[in-house]
Symmetry: C3
């Protein structure tokens, strides 16, 4: 169940029903494949080249894609489906029954409620919370949807069922209580729309800061511009 | 000092002066009975049927009631008194010298300052902070009081010494700087009172969403309605 | 590499290239000297009398000063330089390439972004975030500067490059989007300046609550008053 060239720390606990592909790294004191009441029948799969840092807990029934980097002290519950090239910051809490698509990055301490749908190339900063319960406490779950290339700044709270449109930018500390159209800036508590993302300029120049595809490279594919352009048509047309 | 049918993980550390009752589960890499300077003389008691999930730290001098579920990575300091059927979400920080009464639920990442008093059937959502220092930094501690059935939504901050009345509802992201009467809705920064809880309706119906006792069952006692009604008289009379 | 009279827990992992001075305590399940890709060449130094509590991760290339107390579940990345008599609360996340000077205290769950500069005698309360990216996401880093004796209350967010002046007081839940002069009160989202710190009184007296040097002793040096007065001249002159 463990592939080639993996580095599994001696102190990591790998439970039954876990499939680990090649070149995976698992740090100290991780617990991989949690299944508290033996109710989860589905395997946990950790795909090739992924890194799980120390003290992280991952439940059975989830899927960690290729080339992911999972921070320290992360909690990932069952039915969490992660695509490839994803980063999950330390202390983040993925509550399960949710998906995160390729190349999305979550910084530290992000709380992702059940039934959230985070599409590709999304960037989420520390202490963002995606909620899901419209009349708390209840058993109703309305997940948040973040469309591709959306950016959610530090400590924003997104209320249940809200959709953030393609490439929109939500400022720090906002409370998002309604849907946001594509390519919009939103901020405040409650949220106010502050115009198109082209209004934000790079400091000391007059160049547009958004979309960031021309100025921020990280590990994104070389064809990021084409990907953006193609997705843009799709998502702006559908609105 | 360890009862019957307990499941204590091999990697959990159980220090001296800890009393564990029957059917208790303790997850991997927990440290149970911390006593850094050997100053705490009181035992730690973990009562029957309780579950402590992995990576959780609990100090000596506290009491974990029956049927509790304590999440992953929780920190519980000395003189924390938990009743029965309580849930404490992962990454929560209970700073000690505080009490939480029966059937109250704290979601992930809740910070409970010293001298907080959380009564029964309270529901607290992620990233709520109960503060206690009126002129920070100081050695003065004015704990927050949450009366029974009160609901504190995601990321609300409650200032020192504030009392939230019976069955009141505090919206997400609020800063609560004054007492809230029973059965009121409050929200915003600073807090504004938005009327009686009967104003909040279940989506797509005209039914009252609060109190939740008719529509949310979880593990509450069958007599929840009678309990609510009786407590309501007591707390509304005393105001 | 380990000094005299140290208490290193059996379950703590001490990697290579770590220098631990006398009388240091390291709790269970800590990982000390992390170096994921073997890229960090600098040592990690933990100076005498410091205490590292359980489940804490510290990377190589940092310096933990004398008499520090580091909480549980803390994450300290490379190039974090801590002075002496510092406290770092549990679940705090020090992202590296930052400095914290003598006698500063961080409560639980404080997030310190790269290139932050926290000077001496600063007090930071839970869930404060010091950000650093002016056009997120980017590779630009403008660190926050907190001058000596500044106080940052619970859940405040400080935007990139902002400087908080000597002995200023920032209220709970604020979003600080501009520099704050010395000895000022600021609060709100966005921040509003509410006058001089002498406006805040100790409850039930007419005495000034700030600076706190006359009323809060903790472990500060006996000459705290002289230190404050001397620094005050320096920082108020320089503005």
């Amino acid at each position: 169940m463990i592939g080639k060239n993996c580095k599994i720390s001696d102190t990591a606990i790998i439970n039954e029903n876990v499939l680990i592909e090649d070149n995976v790294t698992i740090g100290d004191f991780c617990v991989i494949g949690l299944n508290p009441n033996n109710k989860i029948k589905k395997k946990l799969i950790i795909k090739k080249n992924s890194i799980i840092n120390s003290h992280t807990n991952i439940y059975l029934g989830s899927e960690i894609g290729e080339n992911n980097i999972i921070g320290h002290n992360v909690l990932i519950r069952e039915e969490t489906i992660l695509g490839k090239n994803i980063q999950i910051g330390s202390f983040s809490d993925l509550e399960g029954y949710l998906s995160i698509d390729d190349y999305s990055k979550l910084h530290s301490c992000v709380h992702v409620g059940q039934y959230s749908k985070i599409m590709s190339y999304v960037y989420i900063f520390p202490y963002v919370v995606l909620t899901n319960d419209p009349i708390p406490p209840s058993d109703i779950r309305h997940g948040v949807i973040l469309e591709p290339f959306s950016i959610i700044c530090t400590r924003t709270t997104i209320l249940p069922g809200v959709k953030i449109g393609f490439s929109s930018f939500i400022g720090a500390n906002s409370l998002v209580n309604k849907n946001v159209d594509p390519e919009m800036i939103g901020s405040g508590n409650p949220l106010r729309i502050k115009g198109n993302i082209s209004n934000i300029k790079i400091p000391k120049t007059n160049k547009n800061a958004y979309p960031w595809i021309d100025r921020f490279k990280k590990d994104y594919p070389k064809e990021i511009k084409e990907i953006y352009t193609k997705m843009r048509e799709e998502y702006l047309d559908s609105e």
